[in-house]
């Protein structure tokens, strides 16, 4: 977080901004469902914090190496652990020798410590990972309080059972958290929103209807489409972008050409040394140079740097190559691969630098053109600001939602790549208490920190109002006006299925002008439109519900976005906006229609005054396409001269419906 908040124009150096207007989120309680906390971390210091809010009903639960009385303070005000569902289900007994963990809220993996730091960690000066990403570290709402509900256990990468998650929701609602942050996902195919196998959507429904926003990670199954998780319309679903920060690592070739790879290498410079690419004679010469299965039949890597190529997206290819080269006596590895936005240090400070295929091929051509190729690897540097571009991370799951494609997901994007935050000592990527991690897990608490500030500023706003404010005011470019790309193959301009409304813009979200509000009735409308039966919905909401006949249209759910997945000819949908700005305001509609689509808004001028605070309008959408198309994107913005309330529009023409176009 040493860059995150400056990047989002939420710097603590500016005396008048959302951070200071809200006294840094003081009094707001952020609940996190995660792997626990490392309470000794300096990020949980409570200097300058007032008493614990009187309404707080939670507590800190003692357990293994965790004293509920002394390990908590005015920053970490709640800490509980939930393992009964996990233990009751786990076929093997949970062996904490093989999979170290603590039978307490104490965090072994470091993930919960990391996410809670991002949301609400206290100020820590001069934080870094081995000198990289150095700066002042803090949470989005540095004076907000943290309540950790440990539901994920080290088996070995962190698994969390629905039964435990639901209990954590149950307790968190009772304890009085103001918002909940979850950096968890399930597996595709997803379960329906009323199906408690997705404990998150059921638990979050009850939280949201009680006024508690729930912020969830979109998951890390990108860049393929339809991979977004946590898609219920009451959840705020967060995609991950990069920051304007990178960790260039100079690779100097013997021909004096310097290539900037990426790494988290904090060790000493590897001076000019031999550079090899393992190649075998025969039909498949490149096979020996595949990173995940390096073989050194014809080349000894002793004392050398090895170049390899991989098509594997997971980081395992890099770590496998590093350990193979190291075991064979090599001194470094250069991995050529498609960009994946997940960096990590290699074990034992072994230099492992990644480059893309283009630069990797240049290095290979250098090797092949020289009798004695040599290379120098310098330690990684921290490059901040221009010319580093913002991208939606490769791994960030993409929409449309596979459950309900008419509900735009993800909702919003936030930085989630190489985020420096506190971690626990067992984290292999930790140095001096801090680690750089990537994932939508890291992006979700960025949004949670900002939601804490917004809750502080607007305590009466519903979770839907907060979501609307965030979605309709988001940046469509990076904070400096440059386009946001979506990483993948190939890299392309980002669209709403990559980043929802865009990149979160905290200041604009604080004063959105208009909001698309929703309450339980709207969620009922959604569930009726989704075809859930009356009795399921009635039980869920605790009231007798009879869905209207004919069924309402999912397109009329009062979302701050318009997504039409199956437009055949034309359709008209309704939205209602509430004025939360100046009482007497006039807004005009500005439409950027998707390609080949006509969008008409009626009325196209909205006049608000002391009696007209809420106005409905209709949007007629028709297609001119004669074939089944992919999605085209546009926007509808309401503009009053001060505010721009922008809704993304996504339209797919489906002349032939319920049809997979796989020809």
């Amino acid at each position: 977080t040493t860059r995150t908040w400056d990047y989002l124009h939420l710097s603590s150096h500016f005396p008048t901004n959302l951070l200071h207007e809200t006294n840094m989120g003081d009094g707001i309680i952020i609940g996190l469902l995660d792997t626990g906390v490392w309470p000794e971390s300096v990020v949980f210091n409570d200097e300058g914090l007032g008493p614990i809010p009187a309404r707080w009903k939670g507590h800190c639960q003692s357990g293994q190496l965790f004293n509920g009385t002394t390990d908590c303070n005015r920053k970490l005000i709640g800490a509980k652990f939930f393992i009964d569902g996990f233990l009751a289900e786990n076929i093997q007994p949970f062996n904490t020798t093989d999979n170290p963990d603590f039978m307490s809220p104490r965090d072994n993996i470091g993930h919960g410590t990391h996410t809670s730091t991002i949301a609400a960690g206290s100020f820590v000066a001069n934080a870094s990972y081995k000198g990289l990403a150095i700066g002042t570290l803090r949470g989005g709402a540095p004076k907000a309080r943290i309540a950790m509900y440990k539901v994920c256990w080290n088996v070995p990468m962190g698994m969390c059972s629905s039964a435990d998650i639901l209990k954590a929701f149950d307790e968190a609602i009772h304890d009085g958290v103001d918002l909940l942050s979850l950096s968890l996902g399930t597996q595709i195919p997803l379960f329906a929103e009323v199906d408690e196998r997705d404990g998150i959507s059921v638990g979050s429904f009850h939280a949201v209807t009680k006024g508690i926003p729930v912020i969830c990670a979109a998951a890390n199954d990108g860049p393929a489409a339809q991979t977004v998780h946590n898609t219920a319309p009451w959840i705020l679903t967060v995609a991950a972008t990069t920051l304007d920060r990178s960790l260039p690592t100079p690779i100097t070739l013997g021909n004096n050409k310097t290539i900037l790879g990426q790494a988290m290498y904090g060790g000493k410079e590897v001076g000019f040394t031999d550079l090899v690419y393992p190649e075998n004679p025969g039909l498949r010469p490149a096979l020996a140079g595949v990173c995940e299965s390096l073989s050194f039949n014809n080349t000894s890597p002793v004392g050398k740097v090895v170049l390899c190529f991989t098509a594997v997206i997971r980081r395992s290819a890099v770590t496998a190559a590093a350990s193979a080269v190291r075991a064979a006596g090599g001194v470094g590895v250069i991995v050529a691969r498609n960009p994946v936005d997940v960096l990590g240090p290699c074990a034992n400070d072994f230099p492992c630098v990644v480059v893309d295929y283009e630069l990797g091929t240049q290095i290979l051509f250098y090797i092949r053109s020289t009798r004695s190729p040599i290379v120098k690897i310098s330690p990684s540097q921290t490059l901040t600001g221009k010319p580093v571009a913002t991208k939606v991370a490769t791994f960030s799951s993409r929409g449309p939602s596979s459950i309900s494609p008419a509900i735009l997901k993800p909702d919003i994007a936030a930085p989630g790549v190489s985020i420096l935050a506190a971690s626990s000592p067992a984290d292999p990527f930790m140095d001096g208490g801090f680690a750089l991690h990537s994932g939508t897990s890291m992006a979700a608490p960025v949004v949670s920190g900002i939601v804490a500030l917004l809750k502080s500023l607007h305590p009466t706003w519903s979770p839907a109002a907060i979501r609307s404010a965030i979605v309709t005011t988001a940046w469509k470019t990076d904070p400096f006006g440059e386009p946001i790309f979506a990483e993948g193959s190939p890299r392309k301009l980002a669209n709403p299925f990559d980043y929802g409304g865009g990149l979160i813009n905290p200041h604009k979200a604080a004063e959105p002008g208009l909001i698309y509000d929703m309450d339980t009735q709207d969620y009922i409308l959604y569930m009726c439109s989704a075809g859930y039966n009356d009795s399921s919905i009635s039980q869920l909401v605790g009231d007798v519900i009879v869905c209207p006949n004919p069924k309402p249209s999912v397109l009329d759910v009062n979302l701050p976005s318009i997504t039409i997945p199956d437009l055949k000819t034309s359709v008209t949908l309704t939205r209602t906006v509430t004025n939360v700005g100046r009482v007497n305001s006039v807004y005009r509609a500005v439409v950027e229609p998707p390609f080949g689509v006509t969008v008409r808004v009626t009325p196209n001028v909205l006049v608000f005054n002391s009696t007209a605070t809420k106005i409905s309008f209709k949007v007629a959408v028709s297609t001119r396409h004669k074939v089944n198309t992919g999605y085209y994107f546009g926007s509808l913005s309401w503009i009053d001269g001060v505010h721009v309330v922008s809704s993304p529009i996504s339209v797919r023409t489906q002349i032939l419906q319920f049809y997979t176009d796989d020809n």
């Binding site: 009964d84 289900e89 994920c152 039964a163 998650i165 639901l166 597996q187 408690e196 897990s441 039980q539």
Partner: protein, 84 residues
């Protein structure tokens, strides 16, 4: 039969008193399992603040029986989530 954790989800809670909510969960479980002791042994969690329901170790046939009781929305097996 083999017992697994099942979540018996009952939606919005019907009583504001969490003790009453939990008591109703135990009664429901007792009805299926035949004794108070078995119900207490089987119960994993009672969800009683934000909503109503419980998690319990049940065989498939016990889970099917409980699904037919009034007030039960769904009975389904536990599943796992992962860090992102």
């Amino acid at each position: 039969g083999k017992s697994n954790v099942h979540i018996i989800y009952m939606g919005e809670r019907q009583s504001k008193d969490p003790e009453c909510v939990t008591e109703s969960h135990h009664e429901m479980l007792e009805l299926i399992l035949g004794s108070k002791e078995a119900a207490f042994k089987s119960m994993v969690y009672s969800y009683r603040h934000g909503f109503s329901g419980f998690a319990a170790r049940l065989t498939e046939s016990q889970a099917q029986k409980i699904a037919g009781l009034p007030g039960v929305v769904h009975v389904l097996e536990n599943r796992f989530h992962a860090l992102q």
